[in-house]
């Protein structure tokens, strides 16, 4: 496969290993690193994430990765966020009041509420595309694996790439310029998820 240098940001997020394995499975050479300078040297960057919004931001900040993430977005490099990483690209979350997110997407992350709804939303659910995106090519209507209690409410409708239905219709994928992020776990979503990572690599080669 190509010599594309794909960095997976290692900041003690729980799903780092499985994200790395999935990228390797589709042919990527992965540099798993906690070093912001190596993020700066990457051709493409993947930010994994599980856990709470506030924890995630604190771990990024401790490593200087918050600045590296903003710089990655500004640089125009292909940038993919997974699960809580989607959420931290927004401005704030009900989960961690007072904590600033990376703020690339305007909007707030809110908790699922409503009668009879089991939280977390855990399991396979269908992604419905709102607009085409190279990373989500051919994946309209496919099921992906979700585990989360919060979801983003984007203020800018154009940022929404895809939605899923769990009591309400929520934003399951968002994107702007060189940044794409998904609430589900492609690395746990079998063939459809591997296809997403493969499409990310294809997109990265073209950008």
């Amino acid at each position: 496969m190509s010599g594309l240098n794909v960095v997976v940001v290692d900041y003690d997020a729980g799903n780092t290993l499985s994200v790395t394995r999935a990228l390797e499975k589709v042919g990527a050479r992965v540099d798993l690193t906690p070093d912001p300078e190596r993020v700066a040297a990457a051709d493409a960057v993947v930010l994994p994430g599980v856990g709470a919004f506030g924890d995630c931001m604190r771990k990024l900040e401790e490593r200087g990765m918050d600045a590296a993430c903003r710089e990655t977005y500004r640089s125009g490099k292909p940038f993919l966020g997974v699960c809580v990483a989607l959420q931290v690209f927004f401005e704030r979350s009900e989960e961690s009041p007072g904590v600033d997110g990376l703020g690339i997407f305007p909007g707030t992350v809110v908790r699922f509420k409503g009668g009879g709804l089991k939280v977390p939303h855990m399991g396979w659910n269908q992604l419905d595309l709102v607009r085409e995106h190279p990373v989500l090519d051919g994946l309209d209507g496919e099921a992906f694996y979700f585990v989360h209690s919060y979801y983003p409410e984007p203020e800018e409708p154009a940022d929404v790439l895809g939605t899923a239905d769990y009591g309400i219709r929520f934003c399951a994928a968002a994107g702007r310029e060189n940044l794409a992020a998904v609430q589900f776990h492609p690395e746990k979503s079998s063939r459809a998820g591997l296809r997403l990572y493969e499409s990310f690599l294809t997109w990265a080669r073209g950008l």
């Binding site: 729980g14 290993l17 499985s18 394995r21 999935a22 499975k25 599980v50 856990g51 089991k118 977390p120 939303h121 855990m122 399991g123 396979w124 659910n125 269908q126 099921a143 694996y145 585990v147 239905d165 769990y166 776990h185 690395e187 746990k188 979503s189 079998s190 063939r191 998820g193 591997l194």
Partner: protein, 252 residues
């Protein structure tokens, strides 16, 4: 569409090989666990559960290596059970790539293990699994330990209600009465637990075919687990899903 019902092949593992006993005895060899799990991933399984059935009474901790090997080949969520005594055991398995850890005997002996796991890793990682049998000459079910060898006399429903309060994320209800019979899940058990708790229920023990799975879902299960019918080729994952879809149950 909303959330899909999950179809979960269960791989009992002993000495690094998949086995499935009838009523926990008469083990038969059904192959390499990682290869088999990768095959189920390709065939459309929604998750895989591994139980190291020798771990609990021998107190071995071999499951971490299995978790690590699985991470390289399997791209659906997987749960590891057996050999989990402490929150550090759980951490080791999660860091090796497991998505969830299933605790059974260890949680009965040390219920704080549920709280510790939920606080450190999140409830979604903590699967509370119970081996239960109908109470002889009475009503309800009792909790058994160590793969069904020891009757605790503990009321199963009460234990599960406590497990939910302590932070478990979902339940595996393994009926020892139904296990290995292929005559269907214990539906009364499922519906009773569904009534008394709010967590997702994984039905286990007794699956003989998709019709049993449909009934388990109707009784309140959000996922169905089976071993023999998949391992020995009686039913493919795809055939089971087709049947369930025909019965109006959302599947992937």
């Amino acid at each position: 569409m909303g959330l899909c019902v999950r179809i979960i092949p269960c791989l009992d593992v002993a000495a690094g090989r998949v086995v499935k006993g009838t009523k926990f005895k008469d083990l038969r060899d059904a192959g390499d666990p990682v290869e088999l799990a990768a095959l189920y991933d390709r065939e459309g399984a929604d998750e895989v559960v591994f139980y190291d059935i020798t771990a609990s009474h021998e107190r071995r901790d071999t499951a971490v290596e299995l978790a690590r090997r699985t991470a390289e080949e399997v791209f659906i969520p997987y749960t590891i059970g057996g050999g989990v005594r402490t929150a550090d055991d759980m951490r080791a398995m999660l860091r090796a790539g497991a998505d969830k850890v299933s605790i059974n005997s260890a949680a009965v002996q040390d219920p704080d293990l549920i709280n510790a796991g939920a606080e450190r890793f999140g409830s979604q990682c903590v699967v509370l699994s119970v081996d239960v049998k109908r109470r002889e000459g009475g009503t309800g079910w009792e909790v058994y330990l160590n793969g069904g060898r020891v009757n605790t006399g503990i009321d199963a429903i009460g234990w599960l209600v406590e497990g939910e309060k302590r932070g478990a994320g979902e339940f595996v209800l393994n009926s020892m009465d139904a296990d290995g019979t292929e005559k269907g899940y214990d539906l009364a058990l499922i519906s009773t637990v569904a009534e008394k708790t709010t967590l997702p229920i994984i039905a286990s023990g007794g699956a003989g075919g998709p019709e049993h799975m449909v009934r388990a879902v109707e009784a309140g299960a959000g996922a169905v687990l089976a071993a023999s019918i998949f391992h020995f080729g009686e039913w493919s994952i795809a055939a089971v899903k087709e049947h369930m879809l025909g019965a109006g149950i959302p599947v992937r």
